[in-house]
Amino acid sequence: MNEPDLIAACLAGRGEEFRFIVDAYKSQVTAVAMNILGNREDAEDACQDTFVQVYRHLGTYDPARSFRTWIFMILYRRCLDTIRKKKRFRTFFMKAQAEPSRAMVVPPAEPSARGIAGEEILNGLRPKERTAITLWANEGLTAAEIAAIIECAPSTARVYLFNARRKLKTLIEERKDHGTLGAR
């Protein structure tokens, strides 16, 4: 069953069909959320909330738009909400970061793809820059598609992408100089 048929089935009340949509997108959504939020627990929560929101608002989805872009738009809002909540509890998170066992939230059986060095590098970027560069590199989205997700002008999205790539290059070079960026 293709995507429009699955959406139609869900709208017709066959909620179990939504499972196929979740299975199709959960890896992409979780990966993007992990890159924006920096840890797996928050990313999985954001992923669950995103799919719940997608299901509840399927009726407002415009088929003329990309379904994937719509999902990422909802995910981006959820991630921003999480970041705002985390800012309110900054003290708690600073304490958590001081404890390596809590900061390293990726289970040992499923090692983080980017490792600690990669996480530190992405922490040097602003959330919008992290979102833009993740969508560009992971999902292959254009500036116009990124702009639709983070709700800004395409030229502004290009600025986010430019700044993210520039900062990332600088940080990678710095890590190479210090020998802290491990090759995969």
């Binding site: 909620g15 992409q28 979780t30 999985e44 719940v52 929101q53 793809a113 990669g118 992971n138 002008a153």
Partner: protein, 167 residues
């Protein structure tokens, strides 16, 4: 080096400039500028990829539980930016200007001593009250005249006229 500095300057200083498309075209072509930006593969090495996230078996049961148990809720409201950026800037500038004008006018009004007399009397500590006034045993009309320039308040008591409206 020179054009890279120019590119950074244009991107940073003119965030809403429409003519910046020439800068993007230059960036796409110029290998020297490209070498100062993280490439696709370089970036991917720093990111979590979809194939790296592992098993996510817990997502669907949790989503199904939430969808079935909780009532629908509206999407978080989002401030949508629409229209020409020029008008957004113009509206923002006009708003700031109007707020500055109101602040200036309010300060000038309060400093000029033309504020509400009741507030000023209360601020002075001793409230001025006239319960009643009589002239020749009959109720009289009272007037309070505030003369801020002379730092003076004049209380005027007048005998009520036999005819209505006259004092």
């Amino acid at each position: 080096m020179g054009h890279w500095a120019l590119v950074r300057f244009v991107v940073r200083v003119f965030p809403a400039w429409g003519g910046r498309s020439g800068v993007w075209r230059h960036l796409d072509r110029c290998s020297a500028c490209q070498s100062r930006l993280a490439g696709l593969e370089e970036t991917r090495r720093c990111l979590v990829r979809p194939e790296d996230v592992g098993r996510l078996d817990g997502i669907w049961p949790e989503v199904r539980r939430k969808v079935c148990s909780a009532p629908p809720e509206p999407l978080a409201p989002v401030f949508r930016r629409t229209g020409n950026p020029f008008w957004r800037w113009a509206a923002a500038t006009a708003g700031i200007g109007f707020a500055a004008f109101l602040t200036f006018a309010a300060i000038r009004f309060l400093r000029s001593g033309n504020g509400p007399i009741q507030a000023r009397i209360e601020a002075a500590g001793e409230p001025l009250r006239i319960h009643y006034a009589r002239v020749d045993g009959h109720p009289a009309e009272t007037f309070i005249v505030d003369l801020p320039a002379d730092r003076m308040v004049v209380v005027w008591v007048a005998k009520r006229s036999e005819k209505e409206g006259q004092t």
